[in-house]
């Protein structure tokens, strides 16, 4: 005579049965669901990781444009976006296709200016003004922190310019690597000084 305990034991035995489950099946279904959700406007922030000559970059975009580029595969950057922009944040590489293509072209030397739309909501006030001015500095050229301070009408604000660079949410596309110390020293860089030097050499702005 079968008891309910027998049934329970048989059910528990099924729990470990791996036959019905493939991670690929789940990943595919998640992908399909997110594509549908995106069509319904439910994905506020889409992100993807892109491999580049300077290492992996974590890219994120809202409906308005590219909102964040982080060096590496830093999860904390995503946590921060969830807190500051929206928790409706999912991996949806297709939404980053435009930026990924432009980055590919940039790193291949075929592109000097980025055309993707930007969402600058993470920058405010003077920092935003500095970063917008920075976007005017073309490929292959450099300026000093002091230059940028002057160009934004605050000649004594070099330190504030430095802070704006350090907190640039969209490096590479908003080219904070083109800002050097007076006298030519590299200064600082969120992606590391090696990366800054690599980018400047890539653009022909730094020799050797």
């Amino acid at each position: 005579m079968t008891t309910t305990d027998d049934i329970a034991a048989r059910l528990a035995g099924l729990a470990t049965d791996p036959a019905d489950e493939g991670p690929d099946i789940v990943a595919d279904l998640v992908g399909q669901a997110l594509t549908r959700a995106d069509a319904d406007g439910l994905v506020d922030v889409a992100w993807a990781v892109e491999d580049t000559p300077i290492g992996p970059l974590t890219l994120a975009a809202t409906a308005s444009g590219v909102v964040k580029i982080a060096f590496g595969t830093d999860e904390s950057a995503l946590d921060e976006l969830a807190a500051t922009v929206s928790p409706r944040l999912v991996r949806l590489p297709r939404r980053l296709d435009g930026l990924r293509r432009e980055l590919d072209e940039y790193f291949a030397g075929r592109r000097h200016d980025f055309d993707v739309g930007l969402d600058r909501r993470l920058s405010h006030g003077y920092r935003l003004a500095v970063l917008e001015e920075l976007s005017q500095i073309p490929f292959g050229e450099t300026v000093t922190y002091k230059d940028l301070a002057q160009r934004t009408g605050h000649p004594k604000a070099s330190r504030a310019v430095g802070t704006a660079m350090a907190t640039n949410p969209i490096p590479i596309v908003v080219p904070c690597h083109r800002v050097l110390r007076t006298g030519g020293a590299l200064g600082g860089y969120g992606g590391g000084l090696d990366t800054k030097a690599w980018l400047l050499r890539h653009e022909g702005a730094l020799l050797s």
């Binding site: 079968t2 997110l34 969830a82 928790p87």
Partner: protein
């Protein structure tokens, strides 16, 4: 997009998917079968993403996700019930002896999928996903005692179903 409550810090929705999607899928496949389970799974993800920013707390995101999945099971049971064609005399089904022996597990799972939704979710959560009663209760939306009762009733029903099958 503004947060409703500044004290709530919700992780990226992707984190929930990474941590729980496989279990939610397993739960739904066990509850409604692989085909309908895939549909219910997608519906669960979309409904959860829609509601996510309005969550007032992030205490039990797994439970919250499964609550939504459970509602999909309830909806599914309602749909299937509505579409079922009533038959006065069930047609004779000739089953090969092989089929009967074929897979006791399949027969058991099929019987699980016929349980009333609350019993079904309770049984699947408790045994196939190995969750404690407190969590079963949170998912079904009842007390822990009621969760135990649902599991007990579900097991009894399964025992009866399987007993009839064998003697049939």
């Amino acid at each position: 997009m503004a947060g409703v409550d500044l004290t709530v810090t919700l992780p990226p929705f992707q984190t929930l998917l990474d941590e729980h999607a496989a279990d939610v899928h397993r739960f739904l496949v066990a509850s409604v079968g692989p085909h309908d389970g895939a549909d219910c799974f997608q519906e669960t993800v979309i409904s959860a993403l829609r509601a996510y920013p309005d969550l007032r707390h992030a205490d039990n995101l797994r439970g919250w996700l499964f609550t939504i999945a459970h509602r999909k099971v309830v909806d599914h049971a309602r749909r299937v019930g509505r579409n079922a064609v009533p038959v006065a005399d069930p047609p004779e089904v000739v089953v090969a002896a092989d089929d009967l022996r074929l897979d006791g597990d399949a027969a058991l799972l099929a019987a699980v999928r016929q349980l009333p939704p609350k019993q079904r979710t309770a049984v699947v959560q408790r045994y196939l996903l190995d969750r404690p009663y407190a969590e079963v209760a949170a998912v079904v939306g009842c007390s822990e005692d009621a969760a135990r009762q649902n599991v007990r009733a579900g097991l009894q029903r399964l025992r009866q179903e399987l007993a009839t099958e064998v003697t049939a």
